[in-house]
């Protein structure tokens, strides 16, 4: 008989449109992080480290990179005879066919998957945060309180609480009220989007609300359960938890890894983070290279200078090139003599020789000032940048560009060149 005490459902279908060109062709959970990792490695590693060995990964937006990355789950030890990792895309049904229209709707469409494992509890996870968390401790909390639903929450500074959904609790941590992005927050316990449901409660709620358009956990399922008097508790998590939903926070949390003793420490022996390793060789640092403060991944070859940056696997930094405060992802090439200042360069990008990235004054981005801010240069994957061009701040480039697309050899601050992928 098949029996799993707790299974996890990982919502990995979102685009993460605030990451701009970085997610033009890949789902946000598949975006690389910290050199060799991808964002989804963190919740997946948390699962296996917490003893959760059955994980359904719900995919929808641009799933190819995710699928190839996860495979049969070998890197996370999730290749199991019973359980392990399963990719769950939306599928055609005899009566209806629809995409996943909301977080809870996506889970509802996979009721059969969950039923197969006969679980007592279901853990709902998102694929867009960087953190290390023991879900087993949260499950203990859930059981101790005889809870129907437990939300993971994190204390945030009171002045920032209005950006989150906050939970107001009594002394026993039972939730009395929710407030979504309150103007005057009465609590600083922000919801992390991580839930443990007692299976029967989840099942009943999903079926009852199955016709709710865009059925969502935060907006529909949890308020529904709360209103009818279910025991909803707030589990308080105190540790590193970082949303990487915007280019600014994505860049910042990568940079934090470089600190002398980073708050989020990848070098601890326990609670390892696992990832699919495509590149094994050591990195080569040339005789004329200069490196201070950086993390550099397998197979990289550095001939130039790297300051305060995160370098992915198999990256090439040419002689005389200078990388400063930047993220260079897997297999990208930075040509000789090119200066890169505060940029995010996605995978497999070729930057020509003697370019300058990140020059001039900050000007708000003309297309999406809300996305391409923070003074960053953002270059989407597989892009090509010709030799001898200059690129300003708050800019975005995607696709193979040629010299004639840079007036006088310059892409001014705030401008974009987007030739491939969705905007």
């Amino acid at each position: 008989m098949i029996k799993k005490e707790m299974i996890a459902m990982l919502l990995a279908g979102g685009q993460g449109s605030r990451l701009g060109v970085l997610t033009a062709d890949v789902a946000k959970p598949a975006v690389s992080f910290g050199g060799k990792y991808r964002i989804i490695d963190f919740p997946l590693s948390n699962c296996i480290n917490s003893g959760v060995d059955t994980v359904g990964v719900l995919t929808q937006y641009q799933p190819l990179r995710l699928n190839t990355h996860i495979g049969i789950g070998i890197p996370w030890d999730l290749d199991r005879n019973v359980g392990g990792v399963s990719i769950l895309p939306p599928y055609e049904k005899s009566t209806s066919s629809e995409w996943y229209t909301g977080t809870a709707n996506a889970i509802y469409q996979n009721l059969q998957y969950m039923e197969y494992y006969n679980p007592d509890y279901v853990l709902i996870l998102g694929g867009d945060h960087i953190y290390k968390m023991d879900y087993e401790v949260m499950l203990e909390f859930h059981k101790e309180n005889n809870a129907d639903i437990t939300l993971a929450t994190i204390p945030v500074p009171m002045e920032e609480a209005s950006r989150f959904g906050v939970a107001i609790t009594d002394e026993s941590k039972r939730i009395l009220e929710f407030e979504e992005k309150p103007a005057k927050p009465r609590s600083n316990l922000a919801s992390m989007g991580i839930y443990i449901f007692t299976w029967s409660v989840l099942r009943e709620a999903l079926i009852t609300l199955k016709d709710q358009p865009g059925c969502d956990f935060g907006k529909h399922i949890i308020p529904y359960c709360h209103e009818r008097g279910d025991r909803v508790f707030a589990y308080e998590y105190n540790g590193y938890w970082k949303d990487v939903g915007t280019l600014g926070s994505y860049w910042e949390s990568n940079m934090e890894l470089i600190d002398l003793i980073p708050e989020f420490n990848l070098y601890e022996e326990f609670w390892k983070i696992y990832t699919k390793t495509d590149s094994i060789p050591p990195q080569f640092i040339a005789a004329d290279a200069v490196i201070d403060k950086a993390i550099i991944s397998e197979g990289a070859e550095i001939f130039g200078e790297v300051h305060n940056s995160v370098i992915g696997p198999d990256v090439y930094v040419g002689p005389g090139a200078v990388i400063r405060d930047s993220i260079i992802m897997k297999s990208s090439r930075i040509g000789a003599g090119t200066v890169v200042d505060k940029a995010i360069v996605a995978e497999n990008v070729t930057v020509g020789e003697n370019c300058e990235l990140g020059i001039g004054e900050e000007v708000p981005n003309e297309m999406r000032a809300d996305i391409y801010g923070f003074g960053l240069v953002t270059i989407g994957e597989n892009s090509v940048i010709p030799d001898n061009v200059k690129i300003g701040k708050n800019t975005a480039i995607s696709g193979e560009t040629t010299a004639d697309e840079y007036p006088n050899g310059v892409l001014e601050s705030g401008k974009v060149i987007i030739k491939a992928g969705d905007r």
Binding site: G34, G35, K36, I74, P75, I258, L260, L266, Y267, K272, I273, Y274, T275, T277, I280, P281, P282, Q283, F284, I285, A286, A287, D288, A289, V290, I291, D292, K293, A294, I295, I296, S297, E298, G299, E301, V306, V310, I311
Partner: protein, 373 residues
């Protein structure tokens, strides 16, 4: 491929000195992120050999750990797989492997129960890439009984620690001298052989009856006039690491761009066990020049012309030059290391100096406790 593979990884070599106290040569860490046996196993995997046996005997703990899963070399298949054979006491055998032929004799059932017509035999201490299909094609074209992969050493290199062969115009081996006192030829056996499986079983069983146990001395050398033994001369890179000097030299060769391009970038890849280590971290004040650095390292000091294997910690104000630091070494502040090989999992206390004269190689083994309570 219509062949099974055998990797002879049981041996020790006194030329390896203290480095072999810890592990079999086949398990020696190589090129920052690999172990020596990865090169033979990857070449077999890339030649589509599906069934491989590794014979281990001497100090096999590190090797067994490294081979605890076959998936890294893609041997985790329904057809075939990776087999590790250590000597066992059975009803009709109470010996260790008394030699390479004896190792095969003790596991003759592996040979008998396979159905592939050919066997590729390799050692675990060679650093190379080789498509065994090409060797097999040659073997069949020459109608050979045994094909030995040979390598012509560059002028001036010492051939006396190898089997030295003399080859006629057709490629047939006329003379085979194992570890001669004076080498008259500079073409040597790489310890890689291709042979028909039934032929191998016959030769091994014969040798067993005669109480002979060494594949080279008792089979290759004795049969060289009776059987057609051909040489397949390798023109690509090959190096044997079974001495401290050659181990040092072969590792240092990876600082050359051509070597990295050949082994790390060109198809096919070399595979190794994946250890889930974070990227290497360079802190302020670190200065690294012309060096290879592996994942999991944390660097605060100065490193020049050196190879850092995985998970090496380098403290402040440290100088490392022309040295090889093996896996998981902690190097305390103000330490100076030059022309050394530092043994794995060692802890070098702060303010230590290990300097060998240029041209010399010092093997550093300190065996300090890492955490003093």
């Amino acid at each position: 491929m219509r062949a099974i593979g055998i990797v002879l990884a049981g041996g020790n070599s006194n030329k390896m000195g203290e480095l072999s106290n810890k592990r079999a040569i086949a398990a020696m860490p190589m090129a920052g992120s690999y172990r020596s046996i990865d090169f033979a196993l990857s070449s077999m995997s890339n030649s589509h050999i599906q069934k491989v046996a590794v014979f281990t005997q001497y100090n096999a703990k590190s090797l067994n750990e490294h081979l605890n899963s076959s998936k890294w070399w893609d041997f985790g298949r329904k057809q075939g797989g990776l087999y590790v054979f250590t000597p066992t006491i059975t009803a009709d055998n109470g010996f260790w492997y008394r030699g390479t032929a004896d190792a095969m004799a003790q596991n003759i059932s592996f040979l008998k129960n396979s159905h592939e017509p050919y066997v590729v035999i390799a050692s675990g201490d060679g650093i190379y890439k080789l498509d065994f299909n090409k060797v097999l094609e040659y073997h069949i074209a020459k109608k050979a009984d045994i094909t030995i992969v040979t390598k012509t050493l560059p002028e001036g290199e010492d051939a006396t620690r190898f089997g030295v062969v003399k080859v006629d115009a057709d490629g047939r081996i006329e003379e085979f001298e194992e570890k001669p006192v004076v080498a008259t030829e500079n073409t040597i056996s790489t310890g890689i052989y291709v042979i028909r499986r039934r032929q191998l079983i016959e030769l091994i069983e014969k040798a067993k009856q005669e109480e002979r146990h060494d594949f080279v001395k008792d089979i290759l050398v004795r049969y060289k006039n009776l059987k057609k033994i051909y040489a397949y001369n390798l023109d690509s890179y090959w190096s044997n690491i079974a001495s401290v000097e050659s181990y040092y030299k072969t590792n240092m060769a990876f600082l050359q761009p051509e070597m990295r391009d050949y082994f790390f970038r060109q198809y096919p890849d070399i595979y190794s066990k994946v250890q889930d280590l974070p990227p290497a971290k360079y802190n302020q004040g670190s200065c690294v020049k012309n060096s290879l650095v592996s994942s999991g390292c944390i660097i605060n000091g100065n490193i020049e012309n050196s190879i850092l294997f995985k998970e090496v910690y380098v403290g402040n104000n440290v100088t490392i030059k022309n040295s090889i630091i093996l896996n998981d070494v902690y190097i305390g502040d103000n330490t100076h290391i030059e022309n050394c090989i530092v043994e794995s999992r060692d802890t070098i206390r702060a303010n230590t100096t290990h300097i060998a004269e240029p041209g010399q190689i010092k093997v550093v083994i300190e065996k300090n406790e890492r955490y003093v309570i």
